[in-house]
Symmetry: D2
C-alpha cells in the first residue's frame, strides 16, 4: 500500500485521478490540497459523494510529505515547481501533471510560458513520463514529468515512424481536436456551454505551449532539431483528443506496400505495450473514452502519409498516464487500476 | 422606420434581438449599451462581424432617448427598473426583457428577488407582453414587461384550459427542461461546458423566480389564488424549453373524448394566432428552435391530463416575443421579421 | 473463475457488460452470440480492439451451456424467453437483461408487449434483480430478471418512502429523462444524431412498457394495487437517467422536519448499500455516469414531495446491475469490478 | 412571384430550403416530391407544422413543370440527372443540389461516383453555383450545379490566394470538420446519436467525393492540374463546417507583412460580397450557424500559411447558396430571404 496526496484537487484531472485510485488495490489517498477551498471532496466533486471522506486542506510541503509517499501534483505550471523541490527534499516521490518539468531547456520554457522557472536546475534531468518510450528512466526515479495531452497523441504515433526513417520530420502538420475538459475547470467565457456547444473552432495557432514539448521529443527521435506545425481545435465534447497528422514519406510511395509497412512498423514497435492499439479502422475518440488506451492507424493518401490517433485527454492524456507512471515507480503491475 | 437602442447588449438575448432586428425592414439599431465594455459589437458577438458597425457605449437615459424611439432593455432585474422611469420621461418607448415589471405586487417581487424594487409604483399597470393573451393592452402602451421564458411555455397552454374549466388550477405540476443559454452569458461553474454536457439536472426546486410569474397569470385566468409546482431542469442543449405539465381534469375523463375536447379547446382559442401551433404529435424543442413558434399538445393518461409545450427560450421565450411586442406597439404587421 | 456467454452481443448493453467483465478477476468471457453477425467483437465494437479476441457465433443452447456457467442475455424481449428454458435445462445460470421475466403476470406482459410469452409458467417465480430490495431471493437462484433502467431509477427512491407510509402511493408522477443509448443500437429515425441533438422531447406517454414494471414493485411495497403516471423523455446525451418524482405526503408537512425525515428514512434504509448514495444536493446524471451508483435526494415543495434520482442507464440501469447480480449469484464480493 | 417545386423533400437540405423560401417574398412553393412518402410535409418535418399545407407527391417531370417555374432538386446523385433533362425540356429552370452537374468531366464523375452519368453531354456546360466566383455564368442560365458543402468552405478562401500567386497550389492540405447533418437523414449506424455524440473521427480519407470538385475549381484558379489532400471529420454538432487549410507560400514569408498581405488580398477580392466576411479572429462554426455567411481568416505559422473558414453546411453549404442562386437566376436582390 502506498499513501498518496493530490495537490490542486478541485479540477477535472484530479477528479479522474481520484476515481482511478479508488479502484487501485495498492493506493490510499491520504491528503487532498487546495489553497482556498476547505470543503469535503464530495462537495467539490459530487461524483465522489460517499466514496471518499476527505476535506481539502492547505498543507505545507512538510505536512504533505508526512502523510504521503507519493504526490500527484495537479497544480498549474510554476505553482508546481515551487513546491516540488521541497517535497523531494522531504523524501516524497512526485508525479507532476503540470508542464513544469517536461521541457529540458529553461530558455524554451521561459519563452513559451512567459514566466521564470522556479526550479530551473532540474530541467533536463526529469524523465518524460511516457512509459512506452521512456520506461527505463521512469522506473527508479523520484520525479516524473507527466506528458501533455496533445503531445501524447502526437508523439506516440510519430516516434516509431521517425526512428525508422519512414517519414520526414521536417514536414509534419498536427491538426488536433480536443474535448472541452482540456481547458480545465476555470471560469472563462470560451469554456461556457453555450459558447462551445454546436461549435468547433481552432485556437492558439502557432502559440500553443504543447508545441515545444512535441518538438523536443520529435527532435530526440529524429536526431536533428525539428519544428512542427500544431493546430489545436476545441471540439464540442467533454473528453477525447483526435490528432490527424500529415507527414511526407522519406521513401517513394507504393500505395498499399507503404501503408502496410507503416502499420507493421507501428505494430512491431508497440507489440508489448498494453495500452497502444494499432488498428486497421480510422480511430474515433469515443472508442478510447474513459480508458488509458491509444488507438492509432496510418493511411497513404496521394503523396502524403496521414496518421490518426485517439486518446482520452483526461486518462491517457493525464491521470491514467500518471497512474501508469505511479505503477512503474512503485513496482506495481503497470496496468493496475487501468483496465 | 423606428430607431432602436438595446441596453445590456453583451448577452445572448441581445444577440438574438440584433439578429432579428437586422431582418426587420422598419427597425434601425442606433445604440447599444454596456456599462464597461466599449468594443465594437462584432468583437463582442463575432456572429455579427461585418453586419452591424456599432460600438457599445455607456449612455445616459437622455442620450439614449435622443437616439432611439424604442428601447429594448436586456439589463438584469432592478438595473432595468432603475433607468426605465427616466427613459419613459424622455418619451422613449420601452420593452423590458428583465423581470422588473412582470409582477403586479411589490411585495411578491421583493420576496422572490430579495431586493427593493426601484420603481414600485408602476407595478400592476404594465402590460404583460404575451400578445396571445394581452394584445389589447400591448397596443398603445409605452412600456411592456416581456415575459419570462418558462412562464411563456406554461401559461400559453394552461390559460385556455383553465378559463374553460377543463382543468383544476390547484393541482398543476410544471416539469420544465431548458437549454443552457437560459442561464445567460455570465461566468459560473454550473454553466461550463464540461459541467453541463452529458448531464441533466434539476435546479431551483421551489425557489425559481418564474414561479410567482406563472402563478400570477394562472390566478388571473382561474379567478382564484393559485399555487403551482414548478421544477426547472438544465438540459444539455443551447436552446429550447420543453414543459411537461401535469393537471387534473375538472370533469370525468372519457379518454378519447376528453383528449379531443382539450385539443379542440386549444385550437379554437388560438385559431387566429400566427405563432401558436396546436399539434397532434408530441412536441420537440428542435422543431421550434430558432423560431417564434410554440408547439402544444395534450394527452390524457390515466386520471391525469398531460400538456406538453415547446418553445425556443431565446426567441418566443425572449427576443422574438420582444419583437412581436415591438411590432404591435409600433403598428407593424405582427409577424414582421419573425417568420 | 466463472465462464460467461453473452447473447446478443452487438448492442450497447453488451459492450458495457464486456468492459466491466474484462475488469472482473473471476469472470472469463468464452462465447458471444449473434444470429447473423460473425465478425470479431473488436470490429463490432471498436472500443474492444485488441482487448478481447472472440468472434460472434450463432450457437445453440446446448453449445452455449457447454461453454459457459453463466449466460447474460442481451436479446430482445420474447427472443430471450425462447432460449432461457433450454439454457436452464442444460444447467447454465442465466441473467436476463430483457423484460421477459420481470413481470409476474402473463396477462400484464401480453397486454403491454402485445406478444405471447414464450415461457409463461416461470413468470412470478423469477427474482427481480434489484439486490438492494431482493438480495435474499437473488442469492441461490439460477435465473434473474435484470430490472429495466427507468424502473431502477424510480423504485429505489420510492420503495422506502412507501413502505414507511411517508408518501401516498396513489398520486405518484414520474417524469424521467433518459440519454439516447437507452433506445439501443437499432437504426431508427428518432435515434439519428441530427434528430436528437439540440432537442428534448417526451415519448411513449401512457404507453411505455416500464410502466407495469414500476407498478408491480410499487404495488408490492404499498400492499395495494397502484397505478402511476410515467413520462419518459429523450435527452440529448449518451447516458444517464434522471427521474423527477412528484408524490403527496401521507402526513401533514412541516417543511424542514418532513424533508429531514424523508432523507433520514432513505439513509437508514440504504445504510449498508454500497451503490446507493442519499445526497443533500440535487442529483446530476454526470455524477453517476460510468458508475453503478444511484444518487437520490428529496425536497418538500409546497404541498408536494419531490424526489430526484440519477443513474447511468447502461450501468446501474443494465449491465452494472447485471454484474452485481452475477456477483451475488456466484458468491463473489458484491462490488467486484463495479467500483 | 416565382412558383417552386422541391424534389426529394424529406431530407435536411429540403427542410432548410423550405424554411428559407417561406421567408421569401417572391417565392411560392407549389409542389414537393417524394417517390414513396405521401404524407403532409408537416408530418415529415414537424418543424413545418401549420406553416405549409402541402403533401408529398410522386410527380412526373411534366407535372412538375406545369406547377413550377423553378425546381430545386434535393435528389441523390444520378437520380437528379435522370429527371433534369426532361424538366429543362419542359421549360423549367433547375437548381440541382446533388453532385450531378458539378464536375466537368464524365470520366472523373464515373471514377469517383462509380456509376454511369445519366446526362453526360451537359457536363462542362453547367455553371458551378458559387456566385462569389461565377456570378456572370449564373445569371441567365436555366440549370445551376449547386456546390458541395466542403468545397464551398475550401474554394472560397483558396481561390483569391491562388489567383494572386500567394500560395503554392500543389501543397494544399484541407482538414475539414463537419456537423452530422451533412450525412443526411438516411438510417445508418454511423449517424446514430450514441455513435456520434462525444466523438470525433475522420472518414473517407482519400476517397471523399468532394475531392475532385475542389480540385476542379482549384485547377481553374491555378491554371494547372492540381491535386489536394482533403480529410473530412465527423464532429458532434448538427451544423457547420470548419476547414483548416495548410498551404505553402510562393514568396518568402515576412511574418506580419505576409499575414497582412494575405488578409488584404482576401478583403479586396470579396469587398462587394454580402456573404463573405474576412475576419481578424479565428472563425467558429457557431458564428455562422443558421446563416448564409462565410467567415475566413489567415495566419502565418512557421513556414506555412494556415487558412480557416467556417460555414453552415446546410445554408451556405447547400440551401442558402441555392436560394442565392435562385435570386440571381430570377433577378431578385441577391440577399433576399438570406439575411
Amino acid at each position: 500500500m502506498t499513501t498518496i496526496a493530490i495537490l490542486g484537487a478541485t479540477g477535472y484531472t484530479a477528479l479522474e485521478l481520484i476515481k482511478i485510485l479508488l479502484r487501485h488495490p495498492n493506493a490510499e489517498i491520504t491528503a487532498l490540497t487546495s489553497r482556498e477551498d476547505k470543503r469535503n471532496i464530495g462537495l467539490v466533486h459530487p461524483a465522489l459523494s460517499g466514496r471518499l471522506d476527505l476535506s481539502l486542506e492547505n498543507l505545507s510541503a512538510k505536512e504533505i510529505a508526512n502523510r504521503a509517499e507519493c504526490v500527484f501534483s495537479c497544480l498549474p505550471h510554476t505553482a508546481s515547481a515551487k513546491i516540488v523541490p521541497e517535497l523531494l527534499h522531504y523524501g516524497t516521490n512526485v508525479i507532476d501533471l503540470s508542464a513544469d518539468y517536461r521541457l529540458d531547456s529553461v530558455e524554451v520554457f521561459e519563452t513559451w510560458y512567459a514566466e521564470k522557472h522556479p526550479d530551473p536546475k532540474r530541467l533536463g534531468n526529469v524523465p518524460y513520463g511516457l512509459p512506452e518510450l521512456f520506461r527505463d528512466q521512469i522506473i527508479g526515479t523520484n520525479l516524473i514529468a507527466n506528458p501533455g495531452c496533445y503531445p501524447t497523441s502526437a508523439i506516440l504515433p510519430l516516434t516509431p515512424l521517425i526512428k525508422t526513417n519512414l517519414i520526414e520530420p521536417e514536414e509534419i502538420i498536427i491538426d488536433s481536436k480536443s474535448g472541452v475538459s482540456g481547458a480545465g475547470r476555470t471560469l472563462k467565457l470560451s469554456s461556457l456551454y453555450a459558447e462551445c456547444n454546436e461549435n468547433i473552432a481552432p485556437y492558439g495557432l502557432g502559440t500553443h505551449r504543447h508545441t515545444p514539448e512535441i518538438e523536443q521529443i520529435i527532435t530526440t527521435a529524429s536526431g536533428k532539431i525539428t519544428k512542427i506545425i500544431f493546430t489545436p481545435h476545441l471540439t464540442p465534447m467533454n473528453r477525447g483528443i483526435l490528432s490527424t497528422i500529415y507527414a511526407k514519406p522519406l521513401q517513394q510511395i507504393v500505395k498499399n506496400d507503404t501503408q502496410n509497412e507503416l502499420l507493421e512498423t507501428l505494430r512491431h514497435f508497440y507489440r508489448d505495450e498494453p495500452f497502444v492499439k494499432i488498428v486497421e479502422h480510422l480511430p474515433s475518440t469515443k472508442d478510447v473514452s474513459g480508458t488509458n488506451f491509444v488507438h492509432i492507424t496510418v493511411r497513404v493518401v496521394g503523396n502524403r502519409i496521414i496518421i490518426v490517433s485517439a486518446i482520452d485527454n483526461l486518462i491517457k492524456g493525464a491521470s491514467g498516464a500518471a497512474v501508469q507512471n505511479f505503477n512503474l515507480m512503485f513496482r506495481y503491475p503497470e496496468t493496475t487500476a487501468l483496465i
